[in-house]
Symmetry: C2
Amino acid sequence: MPLGEFDVIARYFSRSSPRSDVLLGVGDDAALLTPPPGQALVAATDTLVEGRHFLPGTPANAIGHQALAVNLSDLAAMGAEPAWALLALSMPRSDERWLADFADGLYALAERHGVALVGGDTVSGPLVVTIEVLGFVPPAAALLRSGARAGDLIVVSGGLGVAAAGLEELQSGRAAFESKDARVRRFLRAEPRLALGRALRGFATAAMDVSDGLLGDLGKLARSSGVGACIDLERLPVASELAAYPLAEQERLVLHGGDDYELLFTLPADHFGHIAHFSEAGGCSLQCIGSMVPGAGVECRRDGARVNVAGKGYDHFAC
Amino acid sequence: MPLGEFDVIARYFSRSSPRSDVLLGVGDDAALLTPPPGQALVAATDTLVEGRHFLPGTPANAIGHQALAVNLSDLAAMGAEPAWALLALSMPRSDERWLADFADGLYALAERHGVALVGGDTVSGPLVVTIEVLGFVPPAAALLRSGARAGDLIVVSGGLGVAAAGLEELQSGRAAFESKDARVRRFLRAEPRLALGRALRGFATAAMDVSDGLLGDLGKLARSSGVGACIDLERLPVASELAAYPLAEQERLVLHGGDDYELLFTLPADHFGHIAHFSEAGGCSLQCIGSMVPGAGVECRRDGARVNVAGKGYDHFAC
């Protein structure tokens, strides 16, 4: 006999919280929380739809991870420290094995970052997972998209294009969900750059996470800041996992691939040394790919000469 | 040409906020908010799925209203004052007319209660609307489900069963969405009892909103509080809109119908006078239907004799 709605919540989504700032968690009409004084509350929500954000047949554990990871990535991009999450889960059936796997994926990531699941809603319907995360940041230290200035360096964390390559391997059938392939693993289990986001407080002038493709996302950052951007294609952070790909493929994946959830940020050149320490201390690699310039739009250069780059980032209603 | 994802957000979900506690709203990776010192943050989320929570063909304006109303009702049940909302909208197409209507319905209710829409996510997929609301309450004044004690009175606001009757009229084709019928209007546009929730601070020992049916929801409140409940069927708050229904139908609708979003609460008998002032001042009618008792479960009495009542509240995975 399938579990009822309230049994689902009680059995899978009521793990006790290690946070003392949760006065009341799952089980009442709403959660009661204690934000720390003097900090801004940071709130974000992201939705994953089966067939759009994840392929049919994706292991539930990976969906649970990903649904939280994309949200935590938004908080990382603000320089925020995450605290609490709410889950709205629409699913066709209350399949106990699926639910246990999903909850394990979600809680494993939550526990790594000290996040408490404090509420939610479980309904029957198509498989759609929405998470909302809440965190904190000192108001003056928040990283916005709008603070970049002409002359600032443009920096990207980690290597890009890996998750997009993993997605293509899954879509083409060249790899299975259970594959140990690093690209597939990265697509299914991107890790939000929370430590880097906090390290950028006071140094970065603007930041966002790369979720819809580097070129499109950099365009948004430039537009928000009211300046232009100029990047050198030979400095793109091509991940080592793409070493065997042809150069044109590498460039396409790095410029347009989404889902790596790396951070894209700008900072004055004299701050780069501070941030490099984070990288050297084992945080993650950081690659300077160009600089912000007066004007508007994103210009790509190869060997110093301007080039046009085809393709664009992901837009849900553009296809 | 259909609107792109980012145009949808910019055009329909970026109305400026009247709240000075919104440091940064829609348009960045996350919102930045300033909770008032000394208050608990109250967070709830509810999801509406087409075909489950609203019928196919429901006017977008009503969906926008309802998606926010069910969430505000959760805050009302905590005695909280709402402040901010985030919207996660999955929809098949970016239909401009639908979006404009949906946004109008959502913003009209938001503005009535001083709520600012501060963030969200818009994706293509099945029609699923998730809203998350945030508000405040003094920590000691929050209304939980767990505080009822044996001897407390059980009180319900307004009249119950109206929304369920409206839903049945729509499902059977006896009424259309555009009908002026009071039952249909109530189903499409229930008003959250926020003023009542705040008036109950310091008086009610437990509270919740009636969303899945009075009998089932009272059972949850009793279980949370570790006591039993006993109600008198002749005291049920049958709404005047149900006057023409046969008595058995009235009882079924009132006991098991959902979606009225009235408040169900308990309080010591000597507090009832205070709360009655709220009712007399035009807040809404309040009906005492019984009292909490030692033990467990919900007992129904008719003319003082115990009766068994068939049927139960709504459970998403029970069918």
